[in-house]
Symmetry: C2
Subunit: 298 residues, 2 copies
């Protein structure tokens, strides 16, 4: 039995979650810190891990799954840094070095959604699949991808939430909320987009509200494009908006309607219920994502 302990950091725009987890996925210690200035936030996290190590013994590695954009490519000049984020004070923050220096253990670093897709492939709804997509649809929209068994990084990492969607202004005159692209996926379908369009928060809208059909349309458009561009074996949807379980059948039906018989693949057409699925790690995909990165690094 692997007795190793791993550190996991889920870095979000509003809070950082730290945990010590063992190889059986048991969370032995956990703490949440508001995302303040980088120096305060990092100090809080470091203090947590140093205390945990003193009590539990040494950690084998630390994984950080963070909001982006960031540089996840080991060996790159900017590896470990948050890049040009609009979040005040956080651009160019080195999130890896403070932990690597103070804890003297391997530190892995990737986007929250790349962590999540890795965790889903190990323990969640995409177990054993070599081509997998994870989208979080909530305050923001982001996607992580595994292709041929490897996380996609490329030039940096995917930014799937900002892909442009077909937007019919007659059907939906709402212009979108993305400050960069207005009516990209995030601009049209994130939680803030729903709230700005309908004047109420997503969770306040009843299941029969017209909002959900439109929301399913945009999500399905994004998923059809994702399926055509990356040919994943499964698409996993998490995040606050997808907590509305009634969205899943709407998204699946619209996906098939848009695909319109193109691609005669049973795994996609006949088995649509297992092609577009909820997260298997409800609410904990981010933290387990950081754990998965730590295990890879150890």
């Amino acid at each position: 039995m692997d007795k190793k302990l791993y550190g996991a950091v889920e870095g979000g725009g509003t809070k950082f979650i730290c945990a010590v987890i063992d190889a059986d996925l048991r969370i032995l210690r956990e703490a949440r810190f508001p995302c303040q200035s980088p120096s305060e936030t990092i100090a809080n996290c470091l203090n947590f891990f140093q205390t945990a190590q003193a009590q539990l013994g040494p950690l084998s590695a630390l994984g950080i799954a963070s909001f982006g954009p960031l540089d996840p490519r080991p060996g790159s000049h900017d590896f470990g840094k948050i890049l040009a984020t609009p979040k005040p004070g956080w651009a160019n923050t080195d999130l890896v070095s403070p932990f690597a220096d103070a804890l003297s253990i391997p530190v892995a670093f990737d986007t929250d959604v790349n962590g999540a897709v890795l965790a889903e492939s190990l323990w969640g709804a995409g177990k054993g699949l070599k081509n997998l997509i994870y989208y979080t649809i909530g305050t923001g929209i982001g996607g992580g991808a595994i292709a041929e068994n490897r996380l996609i990084h490329g030039l940096m990492h995917p930014e799937m939430g900002h892909a442009f969607l077909s937007h019919n202004y007659t059907q939906d005159p709402f212009p979108g909320v993305c400050p960069f692209h207005q009516d990209c996926f995030e601009g049209l379908a994130s939680g803030p987009a729903i709230e700005a369009r309908w004047g109420r928060k997503a969770y306040e809208l009843p299941a029969d509200h017209a909002a959900w059909e439109l929301e399913a349309h945009y999500i399905a458009l994004a998923l059809v494009n994702t399926a055509l561009m990356l040919a994943p074996e499964r698409i996993i949807l998490g995040g606050g908006v997808m907590a509305q379980q009634h969205l899943f059948p709407l998204v699946r039906a619209e996906f098939l309607k848009l695909l319109n018989g193109y691609l005669q693949i049973p795994a996609m057409l006949r088995d649509i219920d297992t092609y577009i699925v909820p997260s298997g790690l409800q609410g904990i995909a981010g933290l387990y994502g950081a754990l998965a990165l730590a295990i890879q690094a150890a």
Copy 2:
């Protein structure tokens, strides 16, 4: 020096090109056959390779880079087959077994665009890059992808030409020509779409015709989405429409306009001229793609 000989088949909807190529990329024999019925076409190709082998000596492997959809996954039940193509008589054609049986050599099989992106990564405009996209924009539109040094197959293979694009009917009332999706990338921007929209073939339209600005807009939309979803290090454009070299600066300018300052990556923003580039294997990417597949199989 590698003295091996390879067979290469570029299977297209109108013609099949067969060649024997050595490891120095010299084409020793070449023949073109119209794409007739599967049995006639395969017999013509087989006869070519058998004659070539009698004259030149044994081939080490054969690579087939073909129109799709097809099953490129060795070990899969349908490996080697053309799948549900609208091309009469070709659905469910096994393109691999006749060659493997008659020639008794390893036969590799993939899409024309996956072959092309592999060839570009070995000898063309994407030499040495681990994350690369190749689009052909011509009679049809298709894309091939290398992510983290591997061709993406996934559930089947990417079908990038059918991704939906944002379509502003006020700016462009043309409904699109795709029989499945109407206004997907292929439906809006392929050669037949240009001809149907403007009443003239693409190569007959002067460089200052409004057609090109609109064409560049759609191509740039598709490339922005591709860059956001796959984070390639470079995007290579080939095919008949892209033979209009004046399209490249228009596409690059529109790409930057649409991205609107999101992603502060010098390799994409400052170096846009080397980010979106023409094929380095002008006209021969398909055949060299089949060669690249053969070399992988040998």
